[in-house]
Amino acid sequence: MNETKAAIEARGLCKRYGRTWALVDVDLCIRPGEALVVAGRNGSGKSTLLRVLAGSLRPDRGEVRLLGTSLRRGRAALVGHASFTYDLLTGMENLRIAARLLGRPSGPEEIQPFLDRVGLGARGADRVQAYSAGMRKRLTLARALMQDAPVLLLDEPYGQLDPPGFGLIDRLVDELRAEGRAVVLASHQVERLSRICDRALLLDAGRAVWSGPASELPFAFQRLEEASIRAVAG
């Protein structure tokens, strides 16, 4: 992995849904091995930002570069709100199909380690329709890990997970950083993520209103909350 170039770099990102701007001139730059937390209230543009960084949505303006080259889909793995899976197939089958589409070996022995890594080792033969929401999240995580992408984008990674699942996410972020991958996490769990991430970006109404060390995020988030309460009251 190239250490000199930014793992992912975005300049002047703008995205509009109808008349509503979801992102306005958002810049960010993450180096390999770094973890960035993107925080903000509901509707602040976190999920849109991650989908743009994954190549799932085209920005109306701005550019995303990944390791110095223009973004192509498939080079940044996204774990979003949707599971991207087929309910009629088993967890193992879903991952085997993803592996075939990626051109990776798709035998059960190659897939099982990914299921084991997310704690689904014993449930791979069950159909996804029998999975709980947390298990679906874990399966989506396994699928993203299989992509072997230099950048992993996790949207609300703790959502639907149980407490062991929270630990799994924390461990994965550490492991991915150690492997030299960049991780971007969008979440409301600012206290928790401020402990495991390096840097933070705070969004409000689609604009980046603050960026700095992750350790300072809880204070910045609190200031934003207070300012919005004052604005409503005044």
């Binding site: 799932s56 949707a82 087929y86 309910d87 197939l89 993803a98 699928r143």
Partner: protein, 221 residues
């Protein structure tokens, strides 16, 4: 080609897992053939003449159910977006899906064929040729059907919109397939069935590449 094969395999596997739905589509087609025979009445000559047309009408209506179902599964958990996020080219997804839909429609045609033979009592001399026309005609339904099912799957009125978009487009397929099937079943002294089959082949040759090119614009946000 690897991604096309993977998408094709995935759609076949989903078709197999959802085979109850597939059987329901086949029963719907058979019921339609039965109801259409009631509309004609006990006139054996008339039934024989209309059998080929009714077979294709039943196939066309049944195909919209099968095509709608194939995209419902893709939209359920945004699975199609997941495939795109793996870096799979939209054309690969299209060809995998269109091939699987073609195979399903062709098998549906093969299942409806004996029902049509029992109800309408046509000559069995040209049945081999009819199977060939079924292959070409269902290919003509499958490519534009897959494209328009992808388009209509993004709307709430999918089941209404798909026939509205698809049926006018596949009129040439319907005319050519009905003419070729009827000629093969009723006798073709002038050898015209071959011309209609060539028209089907030409339609497939135009629409398979064209729909593959357009599919990316249809499914991407």
């Amino acid at each position: 080609m690897r991604a096309v094969a993977a998408a094709f395999y995935k759609d076949l596997l989903l078709g197999w897992r959802g085979r109850a739905q597939g059987m329901a589509v086949a029963v719907f087609g058979a019921t339609l053939l039965l109801l259409l025979s009631f509309a004609v009445g006990p006139n054996a000559q008339m039934l024989r003449q209309l059998g080929g047309g009714f077979l294709w009408v039943a196939l066309l209506f049944s195909s919209t159910l099968a095509l709608t179902e194939s995209f419902r599964l893709e939209r359920e958990n945004r699975a199609i977006e997941g495939m795109l996020l793996l870096g799979v080219h939209p054309a690969a997804i299209f060809y995998g899906k269109a091939l699987a839909n073609w195979l399903q429609l062709f098998v549906l045609g093969l299942l409806l064929l004996p029902v049509m033979v029992v109800l309408y009592d046509p000559s069995l001399d040209g049945i081999g040729g009819v199977i060939g026309v079924l292959a070409l005609g269902t290919a003509g339904l499958s490519a534009p059907g897959t494209l328009h099912a992808g388009l209509s799957s993004q709307t709430r009125a999918q089941q209404v919109l798909l026939p509205l978009l698809l049926f006018p487009l596949v009129v040439p397929v319907l005319i050519a397939a009905v003419r070729a099937t009827s000629l093969l079943l009723l006798g073709d002294p002038m050898g015209q069935a071959r011309s209609w089959a060539l028209l089907l082949l030409a339609f497939d040759g135009v629409f398979w590449p064209l729909c593959g090119l357009l599919f990316g614009h249809v499914i991407e946000e």
